[in-house]
Amino acid sequence: MPRMLSYEDKGTFINSLCGATKLLFFIIWSITGMITYDTRVLAIMLFVSLIAFRISRVEYKDISFVFKLIMVFLFINLIAIFLFSPEEGVKIYAHRTELSHIAGRYYFTAEQLFYEANVALKYFTVIPIALLFILTTNPSEFASSLNKLGVSYKICYSVAITLRYIPDMQRDYTTVSQAQQARGIDMSKQAGLLKRIKNATGILIPLFFSSMEKIDTISNALELRGFGKNKKRTWYASRDFEQRDYMVIAVLLVFAVLAFYVTFSDGSRFYDPFLMV
């Protein structure tokens, strides 16, 4: 099983940014992406996301599993929108271009298709940034950034430790699943999907117990070295803002303001290409 969602320092520009900068970027980026339905803004954001992804040198195989999972959810989401509200796009854009009739009240309309394409686009603008944030931020540094923003360090540390244990859990998962396979419990693609799901539950119990063992040790280790003694603590991994951090934040803010301006300039957060025609 490939490693997934674990931090790795590849020495890129994105790695060199302060954790707080990346957190801020992620938050503002997501808000912008969530609010705007302006296709032009979304297209630019998608383009920027892909460039950022390229710069980070994160490889597709590092995220393939999570990516596929998100794709499944996106697909379900799009189908659900269509099932529950097939005329949503028509309502939003206030005109109807019927393409073909499917059954009952379900029609393909250009407006609905365009609306759903925008929804998909929103997913694609935020996903790369979210994944990048996780893959390029040192969990401890992330914790220290959160702490800087005023979040209690105990909460920050639990987040950091959770992130840090992802690779460990993956290693355990591999060991446990091999132990099960060695007893003849088929986890390979030869077995049917249902059977595989059923067999996978056999992995969860050993995984749970070995994690409990780890938690016991780690909580002892934390206490024995004075974790939780004071209201505050200092951070070995903390980093101060540097010029590039200010630069990135400045560019981000300018972009966000422009994005909102473009989005709302026509009085609605939807962009309607049909009017141009």
Partner: protein
């Protein structure tokens, strides 16, 4: 008058969840700058004693205390866990899960972070602690998980030293280390002791390995009580070790076999210093005059590796040109340092990985196209940690799992499971939950769950790790019985030199992906080149033979092995 740092007076402790006290009526005084070993079998209370000193008892593991305990003149209850952590530094046994920091530097700095030490000062102190424990500066940015077992331990030690504590507590420091690294660890602890003059308390049951360096005093615990509190030489010339189920150094066992008397004035604690004037002659006579025949049996190969090459990534060869065979009914060990390719070997046998070139034959036929589950019927794999294998809450269900998934009939499953439970001595527990079992019993459950598929061969990864002498003997005798009575071929991947000497007839030594030796344990544990490459340690029997003037050390070690097997039968 030496200053007292730890004092127990009529101290008794009972865990909240237990009916009987784990520590009873402890009276113990530890002085400043002393180096103390606390030895005892599992469950003797030695870890609880250590945890009373660092405060985990009673602050994390609650219970009732009676009597007096003072640490540096303070009542632990006044100091609290955090106050104690400034006085007592603890290096936990499990080097893997005690890491908190993401990088080595961060982990060392952890105690300082919690003390709000400014970052610039922190960097300096971390560097100093790293130097003290021989950690390279360029390792400070690495992940602790990427280090070797010995390096990991040094990081844990540095994380404690960074805080200038008065007492250093080591909980089973040798548990996860190979013999060579363990030796180095004891030397490092010895150096820290000399340089910092801190009080050192070591909890360990591997006496011979700890005594590699000087120890001032040994406290032996059994069933919650201190049964001996004396200097090493006195202890070794008494019969307390046998009573407490602690293994004595092999050279002393050998001297006893030769009917030599061991006096405390002869320095029995150190193989290089022990006086042999009176024993030399007896030892020679024992070696030359008692004859023991080692039975060699010829049989058919059950597993054969033919020129196996394997790599995970094309750039790095993990196994190169491996060839060996395992005979039916053999009990053999595969040894080598971490990363030598031992585990990869077992993955190839089980089918988790496929060799790039070469053939693996099982019972004479190529298993290239057999799936993992097909192979599982012939070869059973037992992991080191039983918690990684057990997936059912009840013992019976756990053992039956392999048969159930294969769709066997119910009566047949019951019959087979019961038979296996009897072989493994688990029949009385068949309706128990797994969680009620001890570590060693859980290990048996995992073996039972493999045996139920009736494999011809089982592979065990570090079968004796984390077990004391009593459990070790019990477990290994069980495997031996399985081997003799059921004819099961047993392959053990191990670092345990006693296991290699006492229970295997052959050892395959791997180093950097190659088989560098394939010989009897006596030959391997007396060959310095092989020992160094595999991160093993020369057996003290070798040194004994040299010091006794016996030139054929290898034959002497072999003689000991054969004699020892006969005595135990």
């Amino acid at each position: 008058m030496r200053k007292t740092v730890v004092e127990f007076r009529n101290y008794t402790f009972k865990y909240r969840t237990q009916a009987e006290p784990t520590l009873s009526d402890i009276n113990l005084t530890i002085y400043e700058g002393e180096k103390l070993l606390i030895a005892g079998p599992s469950g003797s209370g030695k870890s609880t004693l250590a945890n009373s000193i660092n405060g985990l008892v009673p602050f994390s593991y609650t219970g009732e205390t009676e009597g007096v305990l003072q640490i540096m003149g303070h009542d632990p209850k006044e100091l609290g866990l955090f106050g104690l952590s400034k006085l007592v530094g603890t290096v936990l046994q499990d080097t893997d899960s005690q890491f908190i920091g993401l990088t080595v530097g961060e982990d060392i700095a952890f105690a300082l972070e919690n003390d709000c030490v400014a970052r610039t000062e922190m960097l300096d102190r971390v560097k100093a602690a790293a130097e003290m424990t021989n950690i390279h500066t360029h390792h400070l940015g690495h992940s602790p998980q990427a280090l070797s077992g010995g390096q990991k331990q040094r990081v844990s030690i540095a994380g404690v030293l960074v805080d200038d504590v008065n007492i250093l507590l080591f909980d089973e420091p040798l548990a996860n280390l190979d013999p060579a690294t363990g030796k180095y660890a004891m030397e490092l602890i010895d150096r820290i002791h000399r340089e910092t003059n801190a009080t050192i308390i070591i909890i360990e049951h591997r006496l011979e390995d700890v005594l590699h360096c000087n120890v001032d005093r040994v406290v032996v615990m059994d069933e919650g009580r201190i049964i001996a509190d004396t200097v090493p030489s006195e202890l070794l010339s008494s019969n307390i070790l046998k009573k407490a189920g602690i293994r004595e150094p092999l050279y002393l066992t050998s001297l006893k076999y030769a009917n030599c008397t061991i006096r405390s004035s002869d320095h029995p604690e150190n193989i290089n210093r022990i006086a042999l004037e009176d024993s030399r002659q007896r030892l020679k006579e024992w070696f030359e005059n008692t004859s023991v025949s080692s039975a060699g049996t010829e049989s058919m190969p059950v597993l054969e590796f033919e020129n196996i090459n394997f790599s995970y990534q094309p750039s790095r060869q993990v196994l190169s040109n491996i060839s060996f065979s395992v005979m039916k009914g053999e009990m053999l060990s595969i040894v080598g340092r971490n990363g030598a390719g031992k585990s990869t070997l077992s993955k190839l046998i089980c089918g988790f990985e496929k060799p790039d070139t070469g053939r693996i034959l099982l019972d004479g036929s190529n298993i290239e196209n057999d799936s993992i589950s097909t192979r599982a019927v012939k070869v059973g794999m037992v992991m080191q940690n039983p918690n990684h294998m057990i997936s059912k809450p009840m013992i019976f269900d756990e053992v039956a799992l392999g048969l159930v998934t294969r769709g066997h009939r119910k009566e047949q499953i019951n019959r087979q499971v019961e038979k296996v439970l009897k072989i493994c001595g688990l029949y009385p527990f068949r309706n128990w939950p797994v969680s009620a079992l001890s570590y060693g019993q859980k290990k048996r459950v995992t073996i039972a769950s493999i045996l139920v598929l009736d494999p011809q061969m089982i592979i065990l990864d570090e079968p004796t790790a984390g077990q004391d002498f009593r459990h070790y003997t019990e477990f290994m005798e069980f495997l031996l019985k399985l081997n003799r009575e059921e004819g099961t071929t047993i392959i053990m991947i191990t670092h345990d030199m006693h296991l290699i000497l006492e229970y295997t007839t052959r050892a395959i030594v791997m180093s950097e992906g190659c088989v560098i030796a394939n010989d009897t344990p006596a030959a391997i544990l007396t060959n310095d080149d092989v020992i160094a490459a595999a991160s093993l340690k020369r057996t003290s029997l070798y040194d004994l033979s040299i010091r006794a003037g016996i030139s054929d050390s290898r034959a002497f070690v072999q003689h000991f092995i054969d004699y020892d097997r006969r005595v135990r039968e």
